[in-house]
Symmetry: C4
Subunit: 190 residues, 4 copies
């Protein structure tokens, strides 16, 4: 079973997701400066999701680079991750149109939460496929940043019903936390 | 003629199909929890089609991995399969909007049926291109699961006019049946 | 300069064109058998364009397989071809909605004509890049089928204003003529 | 870290951007020759953006060809470029519908300006990753054409509020200036 084709397929799907999201930013009907106003929330939610997907692509890249063996379970764990990532198109569009509402903000968090869960499952499936004492296991270590992200997403989902700006702030914090590349893997293998 | 470019093109098309299907899930106009209600059938039909396409990608992956030679007929048999798979975008969108109607449920089954027929034709075209006693022929064996799927799809198309829930149940059964990777090939070649 | 990246980019663009065309087939608003009626012309124009793009992908595949050297002019001749192919999305959608009108039928032919011209330019640019006595020049020979296609497209554009069914018939004839793979190249190089 | 996967991902994103832009050209509701009139500005803005993206793909191709080492910063500088390129879908659609208005013309220029800035950042990040006396540094030399483009874009953004045709002319001039491939790199490395 070929790691190359798994990487190529994942790259393809992430590239498409990251790009078709821009179709959710509808061109304004008018042509005045004021017509750009309603586009700003759509633009910001696009930026946020673009960076999230960039982080996933980046980490996925590092993760598979450190991987030596894949199997059928890995293919499905990977498709599961791509499924949740694909839903960012839907929630980014919805959040962009209703940025000051609790439900779209919370649902955005649910998709991020589930994508993070799917990534964790993918990591574990890959570790199981490598066998003990693998290069990947040594590189991964404890997943502190992953667990912290899950906790932050869960808080953001609940806090969206208090004040959606808190949730938005949390999403930005998680993004900043991950913009630093995954040095656990990079430092050991690059 | 290059197997790599055929795989890359197929991966590209399947990656695009699986991703643009999400555009058929329209963001709700409102932002209340109740606005998510009408999205649920679209979401479920998206999940179903995503898994179907994942299965096709997975089996296509195994199939070509076991293939040694391709020719012009294989290219067209492959495009024929991609054609029917691309129609899942259309039927998934239609089924999502009219999940309790007979015709969209039956037409969904027709597309799955034709995709399964196209896959069978692709397998036979590949076998013919390999010549007798090929590694692929040994790996494929009898195609019990493929034939059973065709029979189940045919029943689902007819039963949609009795009760569309029966057809939906059949689609789920076929998905579950295939989620087990194609061990015929995997066990012999991996 | 890398032939592999040119092939991969072309495959990507053609894969996207062939797939997003399906988005022009809008899911019907109703769910009765009669609601499928208006979709039929869209479906048929989708089938026609799908096969046209499949032929271009197939011939492009053979053409570059026989190519040894590319340069900057080849990149632009290739982008020029991809440009006209991308317009099939627009004309397929328009023709599907107005299949019995002269102008969309003629404009469809204009795009096919220009794509054929662009393919001819690409072939000549590639031949110039190979130098005399190349493997490609020997494989191409005279381009009878290409010239005949150009003449047929030109007739179809004019005849659309007489009766658009004649043009549709011509488009189908050209498709059938090309479904036979380009044996000029295949027979010499495969 | 793999240069191949960075190239493949960039090719994928640029291929998708260049192709989904065509979805912004909506099929006319009528089928008369006069119905094509309103499509012409959309068509011209599509042509302009297609050529711009073709230039970026072409130069990106040359740039990475000359690159020997990439790192995490390069991945993000590259994603930053792809972000601004993806926004061409939005501004091309908007400009096509309001070609005689100042704001869409200026915003189109802003996106081109930012893409050029992002390309400059990518070049510098790549140079830093190569270390001194690299093959890439020798090939790049001074970036006169890049700096001139930035100045021209800035003028076009301001002049759009005087007369948007001046800005359109400037965009065409920049395109023509770049259609000549980047000989700085090509002449030294090809």
């Amino acid at each position: 079973m070929s790691k190359g084709r798994l990487e190529a397929f994942s790259d393809g799907v992430i590239a498409i997701i990251i790009t078709i999201m821009v179709l959710e930013m509808k061109a304004p009907h008018g042509a005045l400066p004021s017509d750009l106003g309603p586009v700003i929330p759509s633009f910001l939610s696009y930026v946020l999701s673009f960076v999230f997907l960039g982080i996933y692509w980046n980490n996925h890249h590092h993760l598979l680079h450190a991987t030596e063996r894949i199997n059928g379970k890995v293919l499905w764990a990977n498709l599961h991750l791509l499924f949740w990532l694909s839903l960012t198109v839907f929630v980014t569009g919805w959040l962009g149109e209703h940025h000051s509402a609790a439900v779209p903000t919370a649902v955005y968090g649910v998709v991020l939460f589930m994508a993070a869960v799917a990534y964790t499952i993918l990591v574990r499936t890959l570790l199981a496929a490598q066998g003990p004492k693998s290069r990947l296991a040594a590189a991964i270590g404890s997943d502190f940043k992953g667990n912290l992200s899950l906790a932050l997403y869960a808080s953001a989902i609940l806090l969206a019903f208090v004040n959606q700006w808190i949730s938005d702030a949390i999403y930005v914090v998680v993004v900043l936390m991950w913009l630093v590349p995954d040095r656990r893997i990079e430092s050991r293998l690059s």
